[in-house]
């Protein structure tokens, strides 16, 4: 028998109150795990894609030019640069169907596009199918030329139609949104040279682009983490409240413990152990619920392939350790109150 068993018994004695206190932590932890997990998954996915797709440099129209497409002359100039090789062009443009804006994207590698049904060629996404009632075989007009829909992609969100890059380039009279290329020599030097030699274009290196993506995803993680932390803070406040009530209710009991020889440090330790235990239990259950939430969310958003990236070990361990430490800190004030109790007054407490 020791004070730690006493702390454990206190949690068991007030099952409902302990459960409600832990529930606050569970909700906070589960929210953090789901949100940060989704963000971590998305981050690793975006970074992997950025790494895989990116060439040494990407040349795009300069934002100051006001254009979102480079004309054929600019494209030729870029392609004629001796320090560049292994080009890949992407043309993205928009047109309207019945007054609704539709985006068209040129595809170089059809294998990267997941199809729900049909074949590659002219692929609409679900938003287009829903909006215009198109299906495989439907006729679609792009820049006044008629095409037949060959497939429907699994992509959701904005209205997109995917066509061959060559077709997209033809339809825009040789215009291109971005040119990816490998460089002979240092990518940074080459990108500077490109910007010097060709007007109204901007050249970014792979490392700059990756850093930009990383910065954006880190900021998103920080913001999401902050929002999720608010839920956890509410849980931690409930730990302070519960422990204060517990100390108040057990005033006489604490007085007895002091009278029979327990030191203030031992009393403090028992209160901190109790609050830490609440945090640990809430953290473990919250993480389990969070993992379940990640599975559900990944299935709903069709991100099942990224599930492993959504549950990085640092998140699981960090959240459990973090919430336990926070709960111990939440127990500090009640523990101080308990250790400061006057024995004589505590023994008289009703």
């Amino acid at each position: 028998m020791n004070l730690y068993k006493l702390a454990f018994n206190n949690i068991r004695r007030k099952k409902l109150r302990s459960a409600l206190t832990t529930l606050g932590i569970i909700i906070g932890v589960a929210t953090i795990v789901v949100l940060l997990g989704m963000a971590a998954g998305a981050t690793s996915e975006v970074q992997a894609e950025t790494n895989a797709y990116m060439y040494d440099v990407v040349v795009i129209p300069a934002s100051t030019s006001g254009n979102y497409l480079m004309d054929s002359q600019t494209v030729s100039k870029i392609r004629n640069l001796s320090m560049l090789y292994d080009f890949r062009e992407v043309t993205v443009f928009y047109d309207t169907i019945n007054g609704t804006r539709v985006n068209y994207e040129g595809v170089n590698d059809w294998n990267k596009l997941k199809l729900k049904s049909g074949t590659q060629g002219v692929v609409i996404n679900q938003a287009v199918a829903d909006k215009f009632g198109y299906t495989i075989g439907s006729k679609i007009k792009i820049k006044n030329k008629e095409f037949t829909v060959t497939g429907i992609s699994t992509e959701e969100g904005a209205i997109y139609v995917y066509i061959n890059q060559d077709t997209a380039k033809q339809l825009t009279e040789g215009k291109v949104s971005a040119i990816y290329a490998q460089t002979k020599g240092d990518p940074k030097t080459v990108s500077n040279d490109i910007e010097k030699q060709i007007t109204d274009v901007s050249a970014e290196t792979k490392s700059e682009k990756v850093a930009k993506v990383q910065e954006m995803t880190s900021q998103a993680m920080l913001f999401i983490g902050f929002i999720a932390s608010i839920a956890l803070i509410v849980g931690i406040i409930s730990v302070i409240n519960t422990m204060l009530i517990s100390v108040m209710e057990r005033t006489r009991e604490l007085g007895v413990l002091k009278a029979i020889g327990f030191t203030n440090w031992e009393i403090k330790g028992s209160i901190l152990f109790e609050s830490g235990l609440l945090g640990l239990l809430g953290g473990i259950v919250g993480v389990i619920l969070g993992i379940v939430g990640i599975f559900l969310a990944a299935n709903m958003l069709k991100f099942t392939e990224s599930i492993s990236g959504m549950m990085p070990p640092w998140l699981i361990v960090g959240v459990i350790v973090g919430v336990t430490v926070l709960s111990i800190l939440a127990g500090l004030y009640p523990a101080m109150q308990a250790s400061r109790l006057n024995v004589v007054e505590a023994l008289r407490y009703d």
Partner: protein, 239 residues
């Protein structure tokens, strides 16, 4: 009470001459509350010999509980000298250790910890003695046997009668072989019949173990069971 059980693992009074030694020495003890408005003790002097059974009587607010709190190192005097079991309590720094080793408390309202079993309540003071769990367990069972409650060792205090709870409190007070037992109105919350049984048990412990027993009461009949009665009135001791 099971008189065959050896309660004290160390003898409190080894030989008759030891009974001549003072276990408590108090000189000019003063204690006031509310910035001196209430004088609980106003220059109290007292000597109690080792192995004595002393009752402290007095009306409510006379200072008898304050005196008991001072003897148990639960409170500190404003002035004066207090020596208990050779420890000058105004100078002793580790009062927790002193209380754990030297004092056994029996409170009016038993003050058992409700979410521990009877056995665990008796064990808890021994945690400070650093005994092994097995030895603590054995000693707690022996003490419960002494107060004839071994069969209720696994029950919670709420499942016991008032008299049984006070017997558990006695067992808990004896856990660390204290040299002094301080009992604050031990029969105050019990009916007269149960109260008599508890008093008999305390007296038997005192007679068998020769432990110093100091009992606060406002009941003259209860006080008369002691070898000596001390009256506290207006913060002063009349012997």
């Amino acid at each position: 009470m099971n008189s065959d059980v050896i309660v004290y693992e160390v003898k409190t009074v080894k030989n008759p001459y030891e009974r001549m030694e003072n276990v408590v020495e108090i000189e000019g003890l003063k204690k006031s509350y509310e910035n001196g408005k209430i004088k609980a003790l106003d220059g109290a002097d007292l000597k109690i010999k080792k192995g004595e059974f002393v009752s402290i009587i007095g009306p409510s607010g006379s200072g008898k509980s304050t005196l008991l709190n001072m003897l148990g190192a639960l409170d500190q005097p404003d002035e004066g000298k207090i020596t208990v079991s050779g420890h000058d309590l105004t100078k002793t720094k580790d009062l927790n250790h002193f209380r754990s080793k030297e004092i056994g408390f029996i409170f009016q309202l038993h003050n058992l910890i409700p979410n521990l079993t009877v056995l665990e309540n008796v064990e808890i003071p021994m945690y400070e003695s650093r005994l092994s769990s097995k030895k603590m367990h054995e000693r707690a069972l022996k003490l419960l046997d002494y107060v004839e409650l071994q069969e209720k060792a696994s029950r919670k205090p709420t499942q016991l009668s008032g008299g049984e709870r006070q017997r558990v409190a006695i067992a808990r007070a004896l856990a660390n072989n204290p040299s002094i037992i301080l009992a604050d109105e031990p029969t105050g919350s019990l009916d007269s019949k149960t109260g008599q049984i508890i008093l008999q048990r305390l007296k038997e412990i005192h007679e068998k173990e020769k432990v110093t027993l100091i009992m606060v009461t406002h009941d003259m009949n209860v006080a008369s069971m002691a070898e000596r009665t001390i009256e506290v009135l207006d913060g002063k001791i009349k012997t």
